[in-house]
């Protein structure tokens, strides 16, 4: 809502506050002023000029040489390029020394050999948006509607010496979508009275009923309809003040009839519509639900097909307007119109909202109906229109109105006790201060038995319950007056749940291990949705996605994390190691999805880079595996790994991660073709179901006594077929090792040329230990022999 402060003064005394200060007061009281716009910004030294002569420039087709009376008896020659320039016009002249928005300074100039003492201006050159400039002047200079005294200062003549407040209205404050509504708000803030427009006009002897009949067949969607008939109107340009007020309010002037309806829309917040009486052709207005498939061409020249739940205004047979949204082209007011039917109505908000949404058509009218108009302004707005049409279009208003009225216009009563207000706020506001605020708001209030009985004006549809009154009192009393206290609830322990605490531990571990935390989008493309998913299900698609790229819920974190890696490598950041925790979305039993919190890791490039001491290590499977093992250890869990395959991963370098034998994750090197597709070098990925890890209860930590006895180490080097996994051999060792074997660790792997084809050498370090005593060589030898025997029996060869 754009509020001209100059216009606002018609209704309320703004105490000559500077607009910025007024805006600040309005903001602090609850309606946010988004911007304070000075309409005269950048303008200086503009005067009214009168074109006494206008001739073609001999050297240029498109230029005219004008002699312009600029006041004080001076006639200046000005060259003008506008197509609509003509002798006898009053125009806006920027004389040498004048300033226009954007820092433009006007100087005396020569155009194709002819002197030009300034410039004749269009409205755009004065900083008015093209969409607000009347169509007839959109392509040229602005011609003042009435002859004005040459030399007059343009800023005041055009009401550009004005400041506009741009209000950012919340949906509850529909009352402030009108100048009167804003006046009531400002009046309450500044403790000033509001003066309403005085409506007075002469009526013709003939009655409106003599020319028009009215029928409303949809009283629920349209409980109040007022029609007035104005005869012998002269359709023409509106006077300057009206055009300027509309432009200041962000509305384009058309002609006096349309402008009057828009003016009252802005003034009262009540949408009006004007029909050309003769085009109706029937002398009848019938409001009814549309017939399914019925068609109407609206004012924007669009043919629209209607549905039965939409409300239309008809001439008894055919639709002539889409009620409350937009008029029909067939009944539009034109220059030839002589008799006008003015509609002022109350349409139910849900009906309008639906229709407006169906047709994707929002207008100043529909947005007000959607939020609810004031039932008590429908009839006054129609009267105000009649008045202005008689004044500005020389119309003859027929006596009376056609009215269909089943609307409840009763004021709502809200009862609330001062104690309630104070206890909700934590304040001690005195009763008389509350009464004062309510009277400033023009809420009729009676204080009876420690109870405020408040009659809420119908313009304030948002005040419905006690809490709404609490807010009204508080906002005008001042939120700064509310003290700062803390809740007096019983002390609560608060704190993280075990799950949340473990998630933080996991995150801190991963960061300590050298990974950067990433965040990616949950929405992805069909193709990426199930790639790398551990247990892919049917995908979940949005009803109305914004793009195919973001249309499906992800089932794996990896595709977007890999995209992040590619993003980095494309920017020459060759090494990166990222992790993310986040939800994947699977189809579940419930109507809601099965959301699982996952953890994923991606890494590419160098893991260690400390070259000057000869340390350099590229990422590999085992770097990632080590992190996963470390994480499990931190969480008190034991994971195992089983060779596996997954699309997109290297078939020889992929393993599933198991917890208690159940698959909970995957780890592997990205498949070379996948790497190529993503423009990545050797890349390792890992994803696991984090929720499974975090929901698992861990055992209590019990200290094991540190033994006084030493451990004894023995190494064993084996030659094996290279398809045998270390894990298998370790199993054999552990099984044969008995209770003295404390620990088994791989310490060497050799697969080079010195081995026979298909063989590898694997060396283990074994540690023996007895918590009760120092082991003797004999005891260790016996245990070790058993292991060697088991190993040779399993096909391993001692090296």
């Amino acid at each position: 809502m754009l509020v001209s402060t100059k216009w606002l003064k018609e209704y309320v005394n703004t105490q000559d506050l500077p607009p910025v200060e007024l805006g600040e007061k309005i903001t602090r009281a609850g309606i946010e002023v988004d911007a304070v716009i000075d309409r005269s910004e950048g303008l200086a030294n503009l005067v009214v000029g009168y074109v006494t002569e206008c001739a073609k420039h001999p050297e240029a087709d498109k230029l005219s040489i004008c002699q312009v009376d600029v006041g004080g008896g001076e006639i200046d020659q000005i060259i003008c390029g506008a197509p609509n320039i003509a002798q006898g016009q009053s125009v806006i002249v920027a004389r040498p020394g004048a300033k226009l928005p954007g820092g433009m300074k006007i100087k005396k100039a020569k155009l194709r050999g002819e002197v030009s003492n300034g410039m004749i201006c269009s409205l755009q050159e004065l900083g008015i948006e093209t969409k607000l400039v009347p169509k007839s002047y959109a392509e040229g200079i602005y011609v003042l509607p009435e002859k004005a005294e040459p030399g007059t200062d343009v800023l005041s003549y055009l009401d550009l010496d004005d400041t506009v407040l741009e209000l950012g209205l919340t949906p509850n404050r529909a009352d402030a979508m009108s100048m009167l509504g804003v006046a009531y708000e400002v009046g309450a803030i500044l403790e000033e009275e509001v003066s309403l427009p005085e409506i007075e006009y002469a009526e013709a002897a003939d009655s409106a009923e003599s020319m028009l009949s009215l029928e409303v067949d949809a009283p629920e969607a349209n409980p109040l309809y007022v029609a007035k008939v104005v005869r012998n109107v002269k359709v023409k340009e509106s006077p300057l003040w009206l055009q300027q007020r509309l432009m200041a309010a962000g509305v384009r002037p058309h002609n006096n009839v349309v402008d009057v309806t828009n003016y009252i829309l802005m003034e009262y917040g009540q949408p009006l519509h004007a029909f050309d009486y003769d085009s109706l052709g029937t002398g009848n207005i019938t409001v009814r639900q549309a017939k399914e498939g019925e068609k109407i061409t609206t004012l924007d020249d669009t043919e629209r097909t209607l549905s039965a739940h939409q409300l239309v205004i008809t001439n008894g047979t055919d639709p002539v307007a889409l009620a409350g949204v937009m008029g029909g082209a067939n009944s539009e007011v034109s220059d030839e119109t002589t008799t006008v039917v003015i509609e002022s109505a109350y349409f139910a908000s849900d009906s309008i909202r639906r229709t407006s949404k169906d047709h994707n058509l929002r207008s100043d009218a529909s947005s007000r109906y959607e939020k609810g108009v004031d039932p008590n302004r429908v009839i006054p707005a129609a009267e105000r229109a009649a008045q202005l049409l008689s004044e500005l279009a020389e119309g003859e208003v027929l006596a009376g109105s056609l009215i269909f009225d089943q609307l409840d216009k009763q004021e709502r009563v809200v009862k609330v006790s001062p104690d309630f207000i104070n206890s909700r706020l934590g304040m001690k506001i005195r009763l008389e201060d509350m009464l004062d605020i309510l009277s400033r708001l023009k809420f009729n209030t009676e204080a009876v038995n420690n109870q405020l009985i408040i009659e809420v004006p119908t313009r304030r549809q948002d005040i419905q319950i006690e809490e709404d009154v609490v807010e009204e009192i508080a906002r005008l009393y001042g939120y700064d007056e509310i003290p700062a206290t803390l809740p007096r609830t019983d002390a609560t322990p608060g704190g993280l749940s075990p799950y949340q605490a473990k998630r933080r531990i996991a995150r801190h571990f991963l960061e300590g291990a050298g990974l950067l935390q990433a965040t990616t989008y949950s929405l992805t493309s069909e193709a990426a949705a199930t790639q790398f998913a551990l247990e892919p299900t049917e995908t979940t698609r949005l009803l109305m996605p914004m793009s195919e790229e973001r249309s499906i819920l992800r089932q794996s974190l990896l595709p977007h994390l890999l995209e992040s890696l590619s993003y980095n490598t494309a920017r020459r950041i060759d090494s990166a190691a990222l992790y993310e925790t986040g939800s994947v979305f699977l189809k579940g039993q419930d109507e809601l999805l099965d959301e699982q919190e996952h953890l994923a890791i991606v890494m590419t490039g160098l893991w260690l880079d400390h070259s000057w001491q000869g340390e350099k290590k590229a990422v590999d499977f085992f770097v990632a595996k080590g992190i996963v093992e470390g994480l499990a250890e931190k969480l008190g869990l034991e994971l195992s790994f089983e060779r596996g395959e997954m699309d997109g991963l290297h078939p020889g370098r992929t393993a599933f991660i198991l917890l208690d034998g159940k698959r909970i994750g995957v780890i592997g090197a990205l498949h070379p073709s996948e790497q190529k597709k993503r423009d990545l070098k050797e890349t390792i990925v890992m994803e696991l179901n984090l929720a499974t890890l975090l929901t698992r209860e861990t055992e209590a930590l019990v200290y094991t006594q540190v033994s006084r006895y030493p451990t004894i180490s023995r190494d064993v080097a084996l030659v094996l077929s290279n398809i045998v996994e270390a894990q298998t051999i370790e199993g054999v060792i552990r099984k044969a090792g008995g209770k003295l074997l404390k620990d088994v660790r791989v310490f060497d792997l050799y697969e080079g040329d010195r081995m026979d084809e298909g063989k590898k050498s694997l060396a283990f370090s074994l540690r023996y230990f007895d918590p009760e005593k120092t082991l003797t060589d004999e005891e260790v030898n016996a245990a070790h022999e058993k292991i060697i025997k088991a190993l040779t029996e399993s096909g391993a060869e001692l090296r």
Partner: protein, 345 residues
């Protein structure tokens, strides 16, 4: 014999002083004090002396021996120290060379902000509540006083999956679920999480973003309690000298509703580009829980009242760190992420 001993002593002491290395000194020791050394030889000859002279001569020999030994030890300490110094000298490194980098990562800036807020409220006795990102229309809207057809819940603005299921547009459904689950008991929670809205991604909009909301329900919870809580939050998060101001606003699930501004942490209130010359920065929305919301969750709104607040960690991080484009949070540029390593304490 006495003369011989004196001579040997002087000779030994001279050689000790002349020794320049530990090795040379060790040679002197072996030469004079060893079993085959001259002093031993002299002592061996003691047998030939008359018995009454033996003790005197023995004492003298021991004296000489002791003197030589002491001198040797003193010299040895010196030479050893010298040797160590020479060795250390030769082991000098260029301490200006770079150290081996400790491999370390860091949290995402949003996590950093969220965790800071979480910790603050955890210390005030709050719990953290979480809920699904794919939510029922009921919890996302209806239970929050946004019935079907309410203008603030346009299909255009939300990602629906079916008529009744959508990606949550705020974390408020977690509040609705918690209230329902608590069955009328007092509540003190904060709800962090991802939320989604049908926005085109640009420098200031993101179809996915983060929210943290808080909810306190109890007997006689007042608006002043909200103001006090938010004031503690603002000071902890943005600095002790921050002031807050509340402005009336509107949210369907609270009444009264407010927006909270903090005095600008960059200019302190005099006006700058961060606060758009106003001296104030809008940080969050809040209000007293609407009685409809309480009643719908099974609370007696006459007996229990509450307050709620909600804020966007993206906005806070952008303000706090001066980040200019919201898309940075989701691109994962390593050059961006690694900047959030160090502490600010």
């Amino acid at each position: 014999m006495e003369a011989r001993l004196q001579e040997l002593k002087n000779e030994a002491l001279e050689k000790i002083q002349a020794a320049q290395t530990v090795k040379e000194l060790t040679d002197v020791r072996v030469a004079y004090l060893g079993k085959k050394g001259p002093i031993t030889d002299v002592l061996k000859g003691m047998g030939k002396l008359p018995a009454e002279e033996r003790p005197k001569m023995g004492a003298l020999a021991n004296e000489v021996r002791a003197e030589v030994t002491e001198s040797l030890e003193v010299r040895m300490v010196l030479l050893e120290e010298q040797a160590i110094n020479e060795k250390l000298q030769s082991e000098t490194i260029d301490i200006s060379l770079p150290g081996r980098p400790a491999k370390t990562g860091n949290p995402h800036p949003l996590t950093r902000v969220v965790e800071e807020i979480e910790d603050l409220f955890l210390s005030m006795g709050y719990e953290i509540a979480e809920g699904p990102e794919v939510e029922k229309d009921y919890y996302n809207f209806e239970a929050l006083n946004l019935p079907k057809g309410h203008p603030a819940r346009d299909m255009q603005d939300s990602f629906y999956i079916t008529e009744d299921i959508l990606l949550r547009t705020h974390t408020s459904p977690v509040q609705a679920r918690t209230m329902e689950a608590k069955g009328g008991e007092p509540i003190k929670i904060i709800c962090p999480g991802k939320v989604y809205r049908r926005d085109n991604d640009d420098a200031t909009h993101s179809h996915q973003f983060t929210q943290i909301e808080g909810l306190v329900v109890g007997e006689d919870i007042r608006m002043s309690d909200l103001k006090g809580t938010l004031s503690v939050f603002a000071k902890k998060m943005f600095g002790e000298d921050r002031e807050i101001r509340l402005r009336p606003s509107f949210f369907p699930f609270t009444e009264p509703s407010v927006e909270m501004d903090i005095s600008c942490f960059k200019c302190g209130g005099s006006g700058c580009n961060v606060c758009k010359k106003t001296g104030w920065i809008e940080i969050l929305g809040a209000g007293m829980v609407h009685p409809n919301v309480l009643e719908m969750a099974g609370y007696d709104s006459k007996r229990l009242t509450g307050f709620a607040f909600g804020m966007g960690p993206e906005r806070i991080a952008m303000l706090k760190y001066g980040i200019e484009d919201i898309r940075h949070f989701y691109t994962n540029d390593v050059r961006f992420l690694t900047q959030f390593q160090r502490t600010e304490l």
